[in-house]
Every structure is written in C-alpha cells, then in structure tokens.
C-alpha cells in the first residue's frame, strides 16, 4: 500500500538523517545539502501522510486549496504550519467535566491513527493517559502559565524517534556516563514522577542509575496545574494541594538541604553525580551549596539544565553568572554543565556550546517567522522559531513555537556547523496593547 511505502521511506530517511547527525555530533564534516534534501523529502511525504490521516491537517490544507500532492516546500512553510497550541485546541471544560470520550474525539483530530476502545468510564486525566497507553499511544503533557495543557500524541515510531534522537545528540556528553553508569548516582531537581515533558527525561535518568534522589518526594499528578489553578474538588485533590504546598513552600529550604546531603552521601560512597535541573531550582541549589562552602563534584560528574525561567522570571540571572555560580557550587564547567533546549512537540534536543549557541542537529529543519507569522528568508534573521520535524509521524510536525530567536548559520568556533540559535531565547512578546483596552493578566472570558 502507498501508505506503508511512504512510511517505510520516511523511516529510511530517519536513518539517513541520523547517519549525518552522527558526523555532526562528532564535529566531523557532514553534507548539509544531503541533510536538507532528506528533510525536504520527508516533509513532502509527511504532508501526504498527514493529509490522509490527520483531520485537522487535512482541513487546513483544503482551506489553503491544497491536496495531498504538494511539491513546494515554501507552500508548507507559508500555509501548512500549525502553532504548537494546536495541542491545546480542545474545550477545557471537557477536562473539568471529565468528558474523556469527547477528549478522545478531539485527540483524534490532531492524531494520525484510530483510537478504538471505550473511553466513557474514564474518571480522570491519569486514567485517560493510561488508557491511551494501552493503544500504544504515549501522551506527553505540558502546562503553561495559563494552566491549559498541551497533549502531544506519540505513536511507537515517533516515541522511539524522540528517544533515539535525544540519545544521539547527548552522546558526546553522556557516552562515558552510560558506559560507566554504575559509577553514577542521579540528583534530579524535579518530582518523583509525572507525565510532563521534562519529567519524562527525569524518569529516564532515574531508571538507568542505581540510586536516584529527587528534590520533591512526591508524584506530580497529570492534572496538577489545573487542580492548583481551579482549586480542589475532592479529598484527593485537597490532599495533593497540601502535599504540594508542603514540598514547595514549607519545606522549600529543607528540600535543598536534603538534596545536598544526598549528594554528599553519594560522594562518600565514591559515586559521581548525574544532575538534572531547571534554571530556577539550579540557582537555588547552587546558592545554598555556595553558602555551605561548595560541594565539589568528582571529575566525570555531569549537569544537564534548561527550560528557561518561566514563572520565575523575577529570579532570572544571566547565563555567564549562572555558569559561574554552578562552578562555585559544584566545580562543574565547560562540557560538564550542559544547557539543553527543546519542547515537548519536538523530537530532538539542542545543546548550548561555549559560544552561547544552541546548535540545531541536522535532524530538523528550522524556519523563522516574522510577527505576521509569515516565513522569513532564513538564517541571519530574528523571529519566531518554527520547525519541520521529519520524526513527527503521528501528529503534524510542521510547527511554529512561541519562542523568539536569532537563527544563525555557519561554522562555529566550537567545531559545529549548520544552523544554530544564537543568543537569548525569549517568549514571543504578547501583542502590544496600546492604550487602556486590554487586561492585566490571563483572564478567561
């Protein structure tokens, strides 16, 4: 069947892109044009696949006067890219009303496969995600400050793509760690469990080491942010909020103390540390460690951090200052303290080099947009970051993010060539509200 042939070819392209990326990872010479050709071929094939199987995509294409035969990449960039908010395009009342059957109907509009089964008796978000997992569908969630979740549906192939690509990009930093994983304990500045995007990385790290300790000794329920925002509706939710407040506020200082004690314990046992953190927690932990005279980690220890400052914008510090603080606290510098950048809709990661550039692996095609949301010519432009992700097989992978970047292209002194995000990544500013019309904060109408 044509569908199978197309999927087969796309999977071959994935292998081809990974081969190129292996060279890119090793900072060896790689063929940019070849990667470009492969990405374009994948995009055009994925267009056909999305057109046939993803209702929302088909509707957008038909509205733009397109059918499944598109041969011009510019058409895709101009007319067929979705905002990442597509994964929030459901009626939030469905969650509050626990109407998981209708949520499944919605999910089908942005997903490429069938979702058979009875969803009428599902009681909460956790159960829904578990039920979808039975259909081999992995749902990754993320919640912005609005409290409305994104649900990104990954089938087996897409999930595998994400895991393989992430491992590939992190190979230079983690290859030695993985070879000697028994020598490592993990310090995870996150919750003990949960379904949020960054939590998936935490869970993966916790699974591969013998001893992992988490900053917050509780599992973050899938609907945690929504519960916190709208208030509790039953005893379980009340209990969750109490526990959440305990770890986040009452015991805030204590949690960092315990984390540092755990790290010291690992060091006594001769273990190295594999640490993962968001910027805000990292700043707090490092500050505490410096106050205590520093906790130098043994050679080979690695820190992976990222995620920006989000709701902690008031605590933000410059990257050089943060790196200095990390060095003072743990003696980690250079390639031992790696800043990563990704988003749950993306099937790869980027890492920041010493030149303060997030290098985009050849696995993905970056596009930069003006404020009109029309594509700009290419590198050398500041604008809204979008990407064509060949590895998104089960949802539309032509996406426009909410981040504003400088897209750079060239040969970096760090040894990488190709596309990179140069300098600071900012959230796209809200539209300028000139005058007295508007609102002070996020208000639902």
């Amino acid at each position: 069947m044509a569908e199978d042939r197309e999927l087969g070819r796309v999977l071959e392209i994935h292998d081809g892109l990974r081969e190129v990326t292996q060279l890119w990872v090793r900072r060896e010479d790689w063929e940019e044009e070849k990667a470009q050709r492969l990405r374009e071929e994948a995009a055009l094939l994925n267009h056909k696949r999305y057109f046939r199987s993803i209702p929302a995509y088909r509707a957008l294409a038909e509205e733009a006067g397109m059918d499944e035969d598109v041969t011009d990449m510019e058409v895709i960039k101009t007319d067929l890219m979705f905002a990442t908010d597509i994964f929030k395009s459901y009626d939030p009342a469905l969650i509050d009303d626990a109407d998981w059957e209708q949520m499944t109907v919605w999910l089908r509009t942005v997903y490429s496969g069938d979702l058979p089964g009875d969803y009428s008796n599902i009681k909460n978000l956790e159960e829904w995600i578990e039920k979808l997992a039975e259909a081999e569908l992995n749902i990754m969630t993320s919640s912005g400050t609005s409290g409305q979740y994104s649900f990104v549906p990954r089938d087996v192939n897409t999930r595998m793509g994400l895991m393989t690509n992430s491992a590939l990009v992190f190979q230079p930093f983690f290859a030695k760690v993985l070879e000697n994983i028994s020598e490592y304990d993990a310090a995870i500045m996150n919750f003990k469990g949960g379904s949020a995007g960054v939590q998936a990385a935490s869970n993966s790290i916790a699974n591969i080491v013998q001893n992992a300790y988490c900053l917050y000794d509780m599992v973050m329920p899938a609907d945690a942010v929504r519960i916190l925002q709208r208030g509790p509706r039953n005893d379980d939710e009340r209990k969750f909020i109490e526990e959440f407040e305990r770890v986040m506020t009452t015991e805030k200082d204590l949690r960092y103390e315990v984390m540092l004690d755990n790290i010291r314990g690992s060091l006594k046992n001769g273990q190295k540390i594999l640490m993962q953190s968001a910027c805000y927690q990292l700043k707090e932990l490092c500050t505490k460690a410096v106050q205590q005279g520093g906790v130098p980690l043994p050679e080979g220890s690695v820190l992976l951090f990222g995620g920006g400052w989000k709701t902690f914008e008031g605590e933000k510090m410059g990257k050089p200052e943060l790196l200095e603080l990390i060095d003072a606290a743990f003696g980690l510098k250079g390639e031992s303290a790696i800043e990563g950048y990704s988003m749950i809709e993306m099937n790869t990661m980027m890492t920041c080099c010493r030149e303060a550039r997030f290098h985009i692996p050849p696995l993905m095609e970056p596009v930069v947009f003006d404020e009109d949301l029309m594509p700009k010519p290419g590198a050398g432009e500041r604008g809204i970051f979008g990407f064509l992700d060949p590895f998104a097989l089960s949802y539309p992978g032509f996406l426009i993010s909410g981040d504003e970047i400088n897209l750079w292209h060239g040969e970096c002194p760090c040894g990488r060539k190709g596309y990179a995000i140069d300098g600071e990544i900012q959230r796209v500013a809200g539209k300028e509200v000139k005058g007295c019309g508007g609102i002070m904060a996020s208000v639902k109408a």
Partner: protein, 552 residues
C-alpha cells in the same frame, strides 16, 4: 497677542518638512520649549547606531536621544492598503531635565494657583478652547500629518480634531468639578475655592474629655471650635496618558487645569501632536496665566529610567495618574511606591444578547449595536466590547455571529482597519492553534493582493473558555453561546469595564448582579461610549481622587 499660527511660523513648528521631519514643541512650566535644529543626517545616524547597538530591526527602534533633543519616529502608513511602509515620519522634540518639571515650592503654588478663583480657570479654558477651534488651517494640516502615520482610519482622525475644542469646554469643566467634588449639597467648585463649613456641632474628642487637668481660657483660643470646615486642595499631578485615543492627553490636561493643579502631562507615543497643539494654544492665549505657568506637556519614551526614577521618587508628585497597557501600569505600580496612584487599568467590555433578540429578527439590530460597541476607538478603548455572549441555540448564535460579521464588514468599508502585523500573526496563530476548532467568520482586506492581504475584522464562535491574553483588540469579536445570560456572570470580574445588554428588560433584570461583580458600567447595547459629566470612571470619581480633601 500672538496666535498659534504665529508661534508655529516664528519657531518653524508643526510643519512637515520634505525630509519627513516635523518639529514638535513642549510646554515646560508655561514656557514654550522648542527643539533645536537637527538635520536628517544626524537623525539617520543616531537611529542606525541604536539599531546596531541593540541588534534590532529598524521598526523596533522608535526613539533616539540626541544632545539637546529627542527624536521619535513612526512608520508611514499606506492609507490604501492600511499596511505600514518602510518610510518614517521623524518628530524632533526638545530635551528636558525631569527635575525642572517637579514643583517643590508649595508656598508659591498655594498663593498663585490653589487660591486662584475657579471662574478665572474657566475663563482661561474658554480662551484655550476658542483658540484651538479657531486655528482651522493648522488643524487641517496637522490632520494630514497625523494621517501619514495614524493606525486608525480617517474617520477617527477627522473626529479627533473636530472634538479638540469641545474637550476643553469650560461649561463641561464646571459641571464636572461641581458634580464630582460636590458634598453636603454644596457645589464642588466652592470646596476648591474656599473652606466650606460642614459642621457646627462637632463632638469633643475623647482625649479632650478625659484630660485629668482643668482647661483654662486663653486669648489665642479658637472662637468656634465646634465648627469644622472642608476643602478640596489641589495636588501636584503626573499624568501618564495612553495612546489608544488621542483625546486622552487632552482630557488629562483639562482635568489638571480644572482642578487648579500643577501638572506634568506625558503625551503618548503616536499622539504627541495634540499635546503640542494645546501647549501652543496656552502660550498664545495666556502665557502668564497661573494655569499655564504650572503646566508642562512633554514626552519621553516610556520606561526611560533617567526620567522616571526622578518622577516616581518620593515627594515628586502627590498623584500619578496612569492610563495604559498592562505592562506600563504594572511597571508604575511597582516603582512608584511612595506616591498615591490613580490607575485607570486595562480592561475590556462585553455585550450580552438575550434570547428575545431572535424574536422578530431583532438579532440583526442587536448585531449592529454590538458592532457599534466593539468599534469604540477601533476596539482599543477599555470600554470597547470584545466578547459577545449570546443566549440561544447553535443556529441562532451562528446567525448573530454572521450578522456581526456583516456589520463589521461595513465598518471595514467606511473605516479600513490597520492591518497590524502582530494582530495578523496572532490571528494566524489562533486559527492554526488553540482555536482550530472554533468557527471563524473573517472579513478580508486587500483581497487578491497576496502581499497586502489580511484579516480586517473577524468573528470567532468559541466553545469553551477564551483566554483574553489572546485577544488582538483589533476588530476581533469572540462569540460565546450561553443557554441563559446568567451563565455569563462567572466571567465578570474587575477586568470587565462595561457590559452592554439587549434587550433593556434583561438589562434592568441583571444590572445589579452584573455591577456587583466588579464591572463599572451597564448600558443599553450600542450605547457604550455615551458621555456625560459627573459619571464614575473605573469605579471612581476621578476628580475627587485627584484632590486632597482637607479639614480645618
């Protein structure tokens, strides 16, 4: 006596040069301050350097500081496509030292301004108003200048200029002061001009009664201690105005003058010409009048710490009035910790349409009225309607939405909308993201012209909640279906300024329940921007808030 035009000619002001430069004056405590002569080369170089230093594209840099001047630039609009072009109009403005604008000589202002009879203030306002209404040639030429860069349709520009004189009308000023400062049945202006006896049987205080030692009479005793007096004392005011409606700086100036208050008015970016015109008029008609000597009308780029750190510091002003965008209001609130703020917060309006609208096809008239309220200052005003709640079934709601779309198309025809790139991007983002499953009814502008085509107005029928941070406030109407109008009550809060209701019987029924939830005004649908003196503004009697009420 010089006229406004004489002053313009004498100092080469408010005339657009061939190189797209216009010289704009300030009023600094009664003195007309004119900008220095600056050549286009110097201006271009300053902008180019700033763009390079900030790493930003040309349209992101809107102002530069030269040695003795500030230069503000605004992109030129193509009035046919209502898109911005790559050209700019450059306004050269004078520099000023913020400290020189602050009034610290209390004794002088008490003698000169606070005790000035209100009638003399009204007399001055009358002269100001006549001077502004009389300079028709200058107004016409300024209209043309503003048209070059204005992001509102010509219809709004024409109206703004013809209403300038009206905004400073002394009769309205008298009514405002007399009604808003009125107390104990006494007209407000009396409280401003003198001490008013409000009690002749005040009660002795507890301490006075409990004092254990006996009182003795002295020659310096108050003869009528039981009499108490009240006065409305003017305050030193800083007005930070918004650029959504050019009338706002003029309204602020009128408030400051009417209240005999030493004031600094900050003109907003995009609307400095109105303030300059009032400055010239003041200097032309009564340069030595106390109201003029204590008035400054200036501009600085919002956020300029060199200016704002001085203005927001302790004891610089008694009141800061802030109109504006959410970040501007939040920033002033955070920084001006020691000064009483009168914040006219960013808010939005709603329209509620009852099921009665679908009897006898009244929904079309309701849609017309809903569109009228939506179009208040091109939906930029805080009283403009942004969300319409409709009580009806699916079909009725869609019929209403289509009718609003049709009405907006008519507005687009007579007053083409500015196709703001950010708003166009936001519409695309919503259409291809969060509101993918909503029903979209869009009106297009420049259709068929791929480069300039855009959505001029849009009605979106949304299921579920809508995040107001996503609203473009540019001819976007969110329609939400409710089975009962009461179902919209939970969406009311302090952020909602006004609710227009149709039909009137439902407004009367729901009025108190709507207003109890933080809303300031409920009005018959289609009458959202009716004006009258003495009404509350954002839940306040603003004139009263701007005065310091004193006891004697």
């Amino acid at each position: 006596m010089k006229t406004i035009e004489d002053l313009c000619r004498e100092h080469d002001l408010l005339a657009l040069r061939k190189d797209s430069v216009i010289r704009v004056p300030f009023l600094v405590k009664g003195a007309l301050r004119v900008p220095p002569v600056v050549g286009m080369d110097e201006i271009a170089e300053a902008f180019s350097e700033k763009e390079k230093a900030m790493g930003k594209p040309p349209n992101a840099v809107t102002s530069v500081r030269l040695e003795d001047a500030q230069v503000v630039r605004e992109p030129v609009m193509n009035r046919e496509t209502m898109r911005t072009t790559d050209e700019f109009v450059y306004q050269v403005l004078p520099a000023f030292d913020p400290e020189e604008l602050i009034e610290r000589d209390f004794d002088r202002v008490v003698g000169e301004l606070y005790n000035l009879p209100f009638e003399e203030v009204l007399d001055f306002l009358g002269k100001l108003s006549s001077a502004l209404s009389g300079c028709t040639d200058l107004l016409e030429s300024l209209q043309q200048v503003w048209r070059r860069t204005a992001t509102v349709a010509d219809l709004y520009i024409d109206f703004s200029f013809t209403s300038l004189g009206f905004l400073l009308n002394p009769d309205s000023a008298r009514e405002m002061v007399d009604s808003e400062l009125s107390s104990f049945g006494v007209q407000g202006s009396r409280f401003m001009d003198s001490w008013v006896l409000v009690s002749d049987n005040s009660m002795r205080g507890l301490s006075e009664q409990l004092c254990p030692t006996e009182a003795k009479e002295t020659s310096g005793d108050c003869k009528d201690p039981e009499k108490m007096y009240l006065r409305a004392m003017p305050t030193r005011q800083l007005h930070l105005t918004a650029g959504n409606a050019p009338a706002i700086p003029i309204i602020s100036t009128c408030r400051a003058i009417s209240l005999k208050s030493p004031a600094v008015i900050k003109s907003p970016y995009g609307a400095t010409l109105g303030g300059a015109l009032v400055s010239l008029a003041a200097c032309a008609v009564a340069p030595d009048h106390p109201s003029v000597r204590n008035l400054s009308i200036v501009y600085w780029p919002g956020g300029d710490e060199g200016v704002e750190d001085v203005f927001f510091g302790p004891e610089a002003f008694d009141r800061i009035v802030i109109w504006g965008a959410p970040d501007a209001v939040a920033s002033v609130k955070r920084r001006a910790l020691f000064t009483k703020l009168v914040t006219l917060n960013p808010r939005y309006g709603m329209s509620w349409i009852g099921r009665e609208a679908f009897e006898n096809d009244d929904y079309k008239e309701a849609a017309r009225r809903g569109a009228v309220d939506t179009m208040i200052w091109n939906q930029k005003a805080c009283i403009a309607s942004s969300v319409h709640y409709v009580e009806g079934d699916d079909e009725q709601v869609m019929a209403y939405a289509r009718a609003v779309q049709k009405e907006l198309a008519e507005w687009d025809r007579v007053a083409p909308n500015f196709l703001d790139p950010a708003a166009q991007g936001q519409i695309r983002r919503l259409r291809r993201g969060k509101l993918l499953n909503a029903q979209w009814l869009a009106n297009k502008q420049n259709e068929g012209d791929k480069k300039n085509e855009g959505v001029s107005s849009v009605v979106i029928v949304v299921r579920g909640g809508f995040d107001m941070m996503d609203h473009t406030l540019s001819r976007m109407v969110i329609v939400r279906q409710v089975s009962r109008l009461e179902d919209a009550l939970p969406f009311l809060n302090e952020s909602v300024s006004t609710v227009g209701v149709f039909p009137e019987s439902r407004r009367m029924e729901l009025c108190d329940r709507i207003l109890a939830r933080g809303v300031s005004t409920s009005y018959p649908l289609g009458m959202g921007d009716r004006m009258s003196t003495g009404l509350a503004h954002d839940g306040m009697k603003v004139y009263s808030e701007l005065m310091d009420w004193k006891n004697r």
